[in-house]
Every structure is written in C-alpha cells, then in structure tokens.
Assembly symmetry: C2
Homo-oligomer: 325 residues x 2
Amino acid sequence: MKKRTALPLLLAGLLVAGGSQAADPYAKFKELFKPLPAIAPIPADNPQTEAKVELGKMLYFDARLSGDGTIACATCHNPALGFTDRIPRAIGHGAARGPRNSPTTLNAAFLTSQFWDGRAPTLEAQALGPLQANIEHNITLDKAIAVLKGFPEYQKRFAEVFGGKDPVTPDNLAKAIAAFERTLITPNSPFDRYLAGDESAISTQQKKGMKSFVEKGCVGCHNGPNFTDGNFYAIKVPGSTDEGRYTVTKKESDKHAFRTQTLRNVALTYPYFNNGSVWKLDEAVKIMGKEMLKTDLSKDEVDDLVAFLHGLTGEMPKFTIPALP
Amino acid sequence: MKKRTALPLLLAGLLVAGGSQAADPYAKFKELFKPLPAIAPIPADNPQTEAKVELGKMLYFDARLSGDGTIACATCHNPALGFTDRIPRAIGHGAARGPRNSPTTLNAAFLTSQFWDGRAPTLEAQALGPLQANIEHNITLDKAIAVLKGFPEYQKRFAEVFGGKDPVTPDNLAKAIAAFERTLITPNSPFDRYLAGDESAISTQQKKGMKSFVEKGCVGCHNGPNFTDGNFYAIKVPGSTDEGRYTVTKKESDKHAFRTQTLRNVALTYPYFNNGSVWKLDEAVKIMGKEMLKTDLSKDEVDDLVAFLHGLTGEMPKFTIPALP
C-alpha cells in the first residue's frame, strides 16, 4: 500500500507551476487534469477487430454462460444502469448476495488492475473470474465452453475471429469479452470539453468544485485521465469489515485497502463504496473527506465537489442489443 | 374451449377456393396466409407517442421495479434472447422458479389475450401482473410507484407524457410499458416477403412445409397474421400437469387448455410449450402433430415444417438501451 504522505509535496509543486492564474483563477487547477482518451489502450496480444468486438458483445449479453441460464455479464454490469446493477452488493446465482458492489464496466479498460482488490491484472484475466464464482455466474469453464460449442453460430464466429483448430477456448472467450469492454469508454464529458478549451462546458460552481478537488487533496489519489492512480488505500466505510486487498496479498498493510475508484460517471454508478452502503454522492464525498483526507468538508465545498463530479459523466457507448443464437 | 371438429370443413372450403394451382402448386396454400402488419393495433385509450414509447422502454428495462432491484421486464423477456429467457420456466425474485415458460414479448401486441392462460385481455392489463407476483418482480404497486416518484426524471417524463396532477400511477406505468411493447413487432420475415410476391424469399422446402402446415391441419389454430386464432385448447406436453385456463375460468372444459401460441419467431423462442420442456423445434412439431392433430408426421414432413417455421423469423426491433436515472 502506497503512503499518502507524498501528496502535499506533489500538490505544492503542481500549484506553483501554473502561470495564468491572474487571467483565470481556475487555470492552474485545470492544468492538473487530463481528458479521457477516445480510444482505450489495446494490448499487443489482443488486437481489436470489429468482429471480435461484436462477438464479445454477444458473450457479454449471453445469460447461457451461467449455471441456470439467467446471469450474463450485463446482468450486474447493466448498460441501462451505468453498467452497474445499482444495488449495494451484487446478487448472483440462486439469489446469493456477493460481498461487494458491482463496479462499472465503463472505462475499466483504463484501469491498471481489475476488481475492487485488484486481483486481476487485465480485462482478459478479469472476465473468467465471475463466470466461475458460485455466487455469480456459477458455471465451470468446461461447461461454458460446452455451451458455446453447442451453437454453430458461436463456433463460426470464434473461428472467424481467432482462427486455429479449436478456437472456442476460455482464453478466446476472455479476449472477446475484453475487446468489447475496451469499447465501453465515455469520452467527451462536460469536464473533458472544458479541458479541451470550451470554458462554458462546465459551470462556475463546477470550476469551484475542481479547485476544491485539488486543494482538499482528492486529486492526490484520483488523478490521471480516469481519475485513479491505480494504487490501494485502506478505507473505512459504513458497515464494511471487508479486508480488501489483504485477501489477495496477505500483507498486513493491505488490510481494508481497495484500489482508488475511477470517478468517471460517478453520478451514474451509485450506490458507493465496496459494500454499496452509501446512496448519495454528497454523503460519499463527505465520508471521503473525513476518512481519507481527515477534513470536514463544508456544505458548500461538498456541493461544489458534487457539481464537479457530475461533470465527469461522459458520452455513453451506443450499440444495439445483440441477437443471440 | 373451442372444438376442433370444424377444422376439416374449413380447410376443404379454403382449398377449393384457390384458382392458380395449375401454374403454381403452392398458390392455393399461400392464399390462406396473411402477412404481419408493420404496425400493431393501437387502442383508443392509449395512443402511441414517441415520448410514451421511450418512457415505456425505460420502464421495461428498469430493474428497480422489483423487490431486490434486479428484475426488469427485460430480464425474462430479454431482447438478446428473442424477448424470452431461453430457460424452461422463468426464474424470478429470490431465484424462485415460476410454473411456466416466459412467452416472448415480440408481437404480443397482436394477441387477443395475454399470458399462457389468457387471463389479461390487454398489454396494459398484463404489465402489472408480473410486477406484483412474488416469484417474479415481487414488488407492490405502491412500492413501484414510490420508486418511480423517487426519480425527478421519471416524474418529469410521466408528466410530459400523461399530464395531470399526479401522473405517476400504476395505470400510466402500464400504459407506457404497453406502448413500448407495441413497437416490438417483427414484420418482413422471409415468409412475409413471399406473401408479398417475392417467390424466392423462401425455399422450395419451405413451400412444401407451408403445404404440410395446411394439409396436416396446423393452420386450423395457427392462422391469421400472428399465426394464432386466439382460442384455447387442451394440450398434453411432456411433464406438464398445469391446469392452464381452468385456473382462470374454473370451467372443466378449460382444464389443461392454453391459448394457441404465435409461431412468429418460433425459431428464436425455444424452449417450447407451457413448461418449456422441449428444446428442439422438430420435436415440438412432432408432439403437436401427435397430440393436437392425431397424426404421426414423417421425418420429411417435420423437416419441411421446421424449415417453413424458420421462415417466420422477422426483422427484430432495433433500439438503443435506455440510460436510466
């Protein structure tokens, strides 16, 4: 777990660097941010193709990839609900309730690790976990592959996308889903348009929120295009006893630590925190101030920050629902 | 329950009526069918508007209209799966398994009654049933209305669509969902194009299937644009003890009777029958021959009929997934 003590130094350096503050009181804060790229990074061993993305979309929506045929990726990462399920903790196979809130699939392509505890390094590695978890999809990989092989159309599409003698494999299943997920990015939010030079894309309140976001220290962890440094920090949220990254690393210092969450589309991805215990964004902001920054944010500061965060809702990916075989 | 004894007479009359059979051996059969209209019938008390359809689409996809926030209309009537769930019997709240197979929402707008047992006369009357059923959405209407009222965006949209002082009502909820469902129709199937004059839209095998469909008597019940007469017939399918329409009417003659199912998109809406006990269309056709027509269909007849039925898959409605508040 990284220490947060470097933060004041980082900010001090950054704040001195700005030069145009006389003309625009927000310019020096603006310089600390980066727009969300319109294209996700593509790994060398899983190039994007249109056919692969289409296949991945089919798999993402296919509930047959589950023990009782009712749970697809899209069930908990539901496009209608900000690619989450908007319930505190995921409900999977047999109505079992999982231990954590379903994170959004939006912009997951920009994360440096997947899951709340970062236990998967890539989207490809992530995809096969929930399939096999008995309180999620509850299907073995052997069974999932058998299901897919039962459909001539899947056979054909896997062959077209991946080639080879026996292309319907767990590895290729994961690659296709990951390829689709790399299209689930949300550029061009009001804040991105502001960063690109459109001064009126966000309100003055939102600019004040941006200023607070820097001055109060939120930006120390929520930085970069996706508003996350990719590091893990211990956090105490209401009702949670979750040991977080400790369950992966068994390092005492990782107890109750979770990867910094993206703030992109945070207005859509309620309820908040690892246990989904908080429904309101203002409450979540207040808790983050208190727990992570040891600051009691004022009502005005919270309101400004919430307004700022609403400016991070980008353009949703548009696609038609696939017709599955 | 209607008697099926009138069928041979009906067919005899119809078959004599054809006149061009010398030139085209299938013309006299073709005349017995009707294409699916491109627009569903609209009731006078629920006119279609674009805003109402959009609101209805949102409600159709909204899982918050359920006891634990995970079950939407789209869960069991899933657009990716032919607007069904492709499991034998529906799975609802708490992973409870319902007694019957989820019928497709596609072309339900053309049905003269809703549900397997016809217990709802309209789409509007249908919509509120599954919401309240404790093994489906498991939510009271009061709770559902409270959920919707909790979102300013829903308040606004209901007001725009329905007007009035307190527009978020069960009645209007049902009307909006029904309006959306009236857009879920699938015209322009290969068979419809054939009926419209494109002789090559279906294969010779499919034409032979059409002939068998008439001569064997399937058309006796599966007739009209939506391939259903809207009547109820007792049917014995593997594993079913379901009393069907009897549970609604308590008339002895309605025991085990179900409304004639549409055959539109039947290739997509497996598994078949009230209990979803049969996965293969050829097997379902064979059972229908034996049970309903007292006929042992030959392998060739079954193959032709199945080919014909595949020609009833129309153009799927295309829409983007709504972004819910």
